[in-house]
Point group: C2
Chain length 450, copies 2
């Protein structure tokens, strides 16, 4: 691989230039701006690196598909996204978000980390493998979409509709990183999500609070409705909510027990809480965080919220509630159970609007042979034990690969170090770009051999 | 009285001029603007009408005291306020709020109705009685404060501290009006109020909602805490909450039964609700509205409230809750019961901030002889049965007269017709100004004789 590594080092300025070009093109999915232009730029970039590419329509933003054949029968699918988060607040950026700027060894731009940097790492690794050998060690497929940052549903449909084209032995979702102690992470599952807005209505307009003895108050209705969803011990009270929850496997529990305490410590520092719910810590903390389905009030708004006193009986109350689901719960089933529960408890007047109900939970078995191969390759390369997380607390695009393609799927690999994802002054450390490309090339090369 | 009425008609242009002068001086208590100037203007206006006046300090804005002796021993206290509501939104005013403007028989200005118009009516009535007789028929005391619109506590202390100066046989609070059918209203009681802000805190800053399995969520805590305060039948669950509630007297019930259905109908129209709580109507509606203490969520705010999805676990949740109290409940006692209840139910982390706790409930007995005299005078003058309401649903300054001065106190008398109190384009109908002054003069004259 020394030849490959030397090639990567020699071509690093070119890769940085490509990354800058990618970042210079705005592609904010929330604002539907620059997506088509961005898809074309990604497809051109692939072609310039010798990767066959085409732009394919979807129900949403165009999808870029790329492929390069190799000498083994094994096929790896690499998923990334070309859209980025909005730049607000613009005034906090030290250099314009779409003018990639080097400062103090860092490259600043919106998307330079999430996810154009990840994409560049993978494109560069494949290009270097191809340039230094006659054939790639395995078949590569690229899938790059444009609505990840708005949780777009189109990619789910696209994958289901293009099973044959996308068929693979293993899929890597968008990223992966080293933790603060240099340990690589391998994430094997993802929770699903149902996100609803609940609304109760009372008088046609805000009324004087002195009318309270005779007027229904939607803030009370919604409060009571929410209280009926979850008890103070955290148990979710929708009948049948836990019916489809699949318990951890023994292999999962072994993986959980091996996870270092850094995650717990980082969360303690970030939240500045003296204790977590029920005082959980250690493996119990991890089992809860990764394994428990949730019902969370993300927002509750009704009536007056300014300073001081306003004696008002609100006309309307709304709450945003997110349900994080674990295998094998399904969003549409939970939505139905929510409606039935509210109806059965006298809350049929509480309206439910499903704002996101496409995220399905899915888990790749930790003992899948190819997963173990990735773990082995990673361990050998970094000379340290990877942190294997059977289930992410949050959500990335992982489920359709597992369910529709039937392939093991991971959130793994290595991205350059960086920070301020989704925030002003997003950046990567330029010194970590070449190492990320080298590991990716090594991983792909080994996956073609073992 | 014909001479008095003729005098009022002849001097109407002068009264309108005085009212315009009063309205030209801004006096927004919420912004602490113009209050001292306004107090001086009120005192000067009294003097110009032959009413002895002085400006007296209080814990808040200066108080204007006025007096004029009469030939009987009976003393009437007239309470008004010289402060006004803020003018926002200024852009909706068709003429500047502090430039009194006549349009289509109306006089537009902030405060022209609430409460400078009421004050002018009383000043004019007293001046007319004085100008047309040798002596006033009874002793008059004026009490005009400057913090009514911000529920200032200073006037309560002021009245308690000046019992001798303010001693009276009967007190009239700021206003009173004819209903849509021309029936005068006589209001005899006022609910008290405790207004609190409740706050629960979770992580130091908003966290990602995927952390929900292990992080305390203040939106849930506050939701559960609120649900513990009131059950779905409307019963308030603070232990001892109803202990001090004094039931309606027989005379109260008789008065309630005589109230016309207009109030219920107007509220039905305003709220556009198909039914009130528990389907109450008729006398049951009135007994609830006027007699029931309440616990009302006036506002609940936590987390994300914008469009679409934001997966956030809020750092903080706050609610504004108002308790309307009936005799003999006391705000400080209810506040203590609230704290004890939250502590006893595991909500000691929920902070309580009392934003208003000075409003005490109080009721003047409907069968008090002087009240009956006022009702008789009013009935005879208008040739119709006054609507006697033993208790207002909302609050005005009434309790300190009843409690500290030991006098019957009413929200009665007649103000000019008008609208848009607390809103842009506040106005009075100029044609109703002279009739309001005439009735007030008649009422005072009769109260001196009977």
């Amino acid at each position: 691989m020394d030849q490959v590594y030397a090639y990567i080092d020699a071509h690093l300025p070119k890769y940085i230039q490509i990354l800058k070009d990618l970042c210079r093109q705005p592609s904010v999915s929330a604002e539907q701006s620059g997506l088509t232009e961005m898809a074309h730029l990604v497809a051109q970039t692939m072609q310039s690196l010798g990767i066959e590419s085409r732009i394919m329509p979807s129900d949403g933003a165009p999808v870029v598909y790329g492929q390069m054949a190799g000498r083994s029968n094994r096929t790896v699918l690499l998923y990334n996204h070309y859209d980025v988060q909005p730049v607000d607040p613009l005034s906090e950026w030290q250099s314009p978000p779409f003018e990639p700027t080097e400062r103090d060894g860092r490259l600043y731009a919106r998307g330079v980390h999430d996810d154009k940097g990840d994409l560049l790492v993978r494109l560069a690794a494949v290009a270097a493998l191809k340039a230094t050998g006659e054939e790639l060690p395995l078949n590569i497929k690229f899938l790059v979409e444009g609505e990840e940052e708005i949780d777009g549903a189109a990619i789910y449909t696209f994958i289901r509709d293009h099973r044959d084209l996308l068929a693979s032995d293993i899929c890597f979702s968008e990223g992966g990183s080293l933790d603060v102690k240099g340990r690589p992470g391998v994430y094997l599952g993802v929770k699903g999500m149902l996100y609803v807005e609940l609304e109760a209505r009372g008088p046609a307009v805000d009324a004087h609070s002195s009318y309270a003895p005779v007027l229904p108050n939607p803030a009370w209705s919604l409060n009571w409705a929410l209280s009926s969803l979850k008890d103070r011990d955290g148990k979710i009270l929708l009948p049948g909510f836990y019916d489809d929850v699949k318990p951890w496997s023994t292999a999962d529990r072994v993986a959980l027990a091996a996870i270092p305490a850094d995650i717990e410590n980082a969360m303690r520092e970030e939240t500045q809480l003296p204790a977590f719910l029920d005082g959980v810590q250690g493996v119990e903390f991890l089992e809860r965080l990764y394994g428990e389905p949730t019902c969370t009030i993300c927002g509750f708004h009704s009536g007056y919220g300014g300073p001081g006193v306003k004696t008002v009986l609100p006309a309307v109350a709304t709450a945003k509630v997110d349900f994080r689901l674990v295998p094998d719960q399904r969003p549409e089933d939970i939505l139905q159970k929510l409606r039935s529960h509210l109806d059965a408890n006298g809350f049929s007047h509480v309206e439910i609007r499903a704002l996101a109900d496409i995220g399905l939970p899915a888990r790749t078995p930790v003992d899948h042979p190819l997963v173990q191969t990735v773990i082995d390759i990673t361990r050998e390369y970094y000379q340290t034990e990877p942190t294997v997380i059977p289930m992410m607390a949050g959500g990335v695009v992982l489920e359709p690969f597992i369910t529709a393609l039937g392939a093991p799927a991971l959130f793994a690999g290595i991205r350059p170090d960086g920070a301020n994802i989704h925030a002003p002054n997003e950046y990567i450390e330029l010194s970590t770009l070449a190492p990320a490309i080298k590991f990716t090339a090594h991983l792909l090369q080994q996956l073609g051999q073992r």
